[in-house]
Amino acid sequence: MPAALKGSAIKPKLEGPTVAVSVKSVNMVYDGVHAVRSASFDLETGKFLTILGPSGSGKTTLLRLIAGSQRPTSGEIFINGAAVSAVPPHKRSIGMVFQKLALFPHMTAAENVAFPLKMRRSDARAIPARVERYLDMVRLGGYGTRRVHELSGGQQQRVAIARALVFEPDLLLLDEPLAALDRKLREEMQLEFRRIQRELGVTTINVTHDQREALVVSDEIIVMDRGEIQQKARPSETYRSPSNAFVANFIGVTNFLDAPDGERRAIRAEKIRIAPTRHGLVGADTIVEGIVADAIFEGERVVYEVRVASLGDSLLRVFDHDPSAHSQLEPGSAVYLGWTAGDVLEFKP
């Protein structure tokens, strides 16, 4: 059946989980530097995966290897069971939204969306209706005749998404397309990505350095650092039980507590309670004394930096989510910090 005639935008639910993407011991070496080191993971069909990591962690390289714009030094990538290392990008069934969108400036929005259909030699008579349907899906119905530069940043994002999805690819790749947007628009587009992905059920891999985005949009998160996969888990699991100190530090605000036995212990900023007196911390397993070094009012919460003498004079960050419970504590004032033993994260050295 030609791609243009495939039924509705919503693909039928497959029976049981199938693996859409399988990365097997992939290495990528540039000039002796391991950009990606023995990366292996499987991704189920229809899932939204985010590869999260700081710049230079190898996340973009991993995405490019899947997209096919680069070939791995060793290892193999399978898409729907087929090895793809020898397949050039234009023969892979992958829709990609680029960091700078890469919309074609000499075409209208509709022409941009029609481009992949034309390149894949779809039935010319079916193209206009299909382009219109996908523009509707990204809520750009009626904007088809606009040129790219006549659209706002958010609208351009939507055109890029429609263009990447209109040919019903097996896989959607997002190469940090939201990085350049302002915060409000970015958060709106995150939800939009999520909605569209759920609507179409397309397997998606997203790359970002924004931990909030990873938590909001994903079914699963891979955290990468220095070319290696640190953890692959559901967002809540990644947040609640990070597999190592790097993950704990990269996602959320984490205080590391010095431990004499070499095992690293940490506590999240929001798990520490703060009070001017000991009585305010009933139920805490551990209570320490400290001096407020800085208090930052952020609206819905106050962030305190507290210097704790008993922990080697280290600064602990504390989120106080109920600032109205007591008046804001001024820098220099003596406070008590408390937490329960169950909230302490422990990592093997």
Binding site: A67, G68, S69, P88, P89, H90, R92, I94, G95, M96, F98, Q99, K100, A102, F104, P105, H106, F115, P116, M119, R120, R147, E150, R163, A164, F167
Partner: protein, 314 residues
């Protein structure tokens, strides 16, 4: 002392001194005149050109008295009539026009891949080599280069000697139309590449990657993405190559050997061989008119924005 120097480097002090000097000779209250001051040199040149053109226009309306070799006092359109009716001038005009068109098409065809590789190559060594190869001929004047071709392509030249080694009789390679066009293409190539390179640099590389991921192979990416986006550069380069070829003198004179005159050669003959300044001026004005019409035509077809003049078309 050292710290103070680095905090306020010598170049800044020099700039300060220059600014103080500028403020002395051109006080701030003259500020509104600065744009005009900046335009002055160019306006002066254009003014001289217009004056010269006026003079040429005046002479073109006078005929040469062959008995006294003086220009007539009375104005007449006789020169224009000759220019439009004598078949020699029609042949020369047609030869120049057709030649410049062919040279433009061939030059752009050759320059485009060269510029593309130069812009897109990931190897700095390749880019440097291509740039050096491009600029070397620039240091050799057009006339010297034409003589170089005489040495290479002459009857006893390198090419014919090489052919002699494989027992092929010498071929007459020079003093024909194709020799002139060949010389012109070789002369124009660096201009075209230099004008195309910035236009190609302006096309983001990820557009080509995007086209690839959307299912376009190399050839279709080129046709649907690279070529349309390179249009401003192609139009600009084409315009420069065309006008330079149309008005060229040295290549037709040297590689054509007098048998392949372009308009500029005909003008030269009128001024310096037959001393008919009137007819020479007429031909010169007609050449200016033809060139201006070509440029005007290109601007109406593609818009002045193609030369990055004015605002981009919306």
């Amino acid at each position: 002392m050292r710290a103070a120097k680095s905090a306020y480097p010598l170049t800044w002090r020099i700039m300060d001194a220059l600014e103080a000097f500028a403020a002395f000779v051109w006080p701030a209250r003259f500020g509104r005149a600065i744009p005009w001051l900046m335009l002055a040199p160019a306006l002066l040149l254009v003014g001289l050109l217009v004056l010269g053109l006026w003079q040429i226009g005046d002479v073109s309306l006078r005929t040469l008295d062959t008995s006294t070799f003086l220009m007539s006092e009375a104005y007449t359109l006789a020169n224009y009539q000759r220019a439009f009716t004598e078949s020699l001038f029609a042949v020369v005009a047609w030869r120049s026009l057709a030649g410049s068109l062919i040279v433009t098409v061939v030059t752009l065809t050759l320059a485009f891949p060269y510029a593309y590789v130069m812009v897109r190559t990931s190897s700095p060594t390749t880019r440097k080599l291509l740039l050096i190869a491009l600029f070397l001929p620039f240091f050799i004047g057009q006339v010297v280069r034409a003589y170089g071709w005489l040495i290479i392509l002459g009857n006893q030249g390198m090419v014919n000697e090489a052919l002699g080694l494989v027992r092929i009789a010498p071929i007459r390679l020079l003093y024909n139309y194709w020799a002139v066009l060949f010389g012109l293409v070789q002369y124009m190539l660096p201009f075209a590449v230099l004008m195309l390179a910035p236009a190609l640099t302006a096309i983001p590389e990820e557009l080509e990657a995007a086209a690839g991921s959307l299912g376009a192979d190399w050839a279709r990416t080129f046709r649907h993405i690279v070529l349309p986006l390179a249009r401003p550069g192609l139009v600009g380069a084409g315009l420069v190559v065309m006008t330079l070829s149309l008005t060229d003198f040295a290549m037709p004179a040297i590689l054509g050997g007098g048998s392949q005159d372009f308009i500029a050669n005909a003008i030269y003959d009128q001024f310096f061989r037959t001393s008919d300044q009137g007819l020479g001026s007429t031909l010169a004005l007609l050449l200016v008119a033809a060139g201006s019409m070509l440029v005007g035509l290109v601007f109406t077809l593609f818009g002045a924005g193609t030369l990055a003049v004015g605002r981009a078309r919306r």
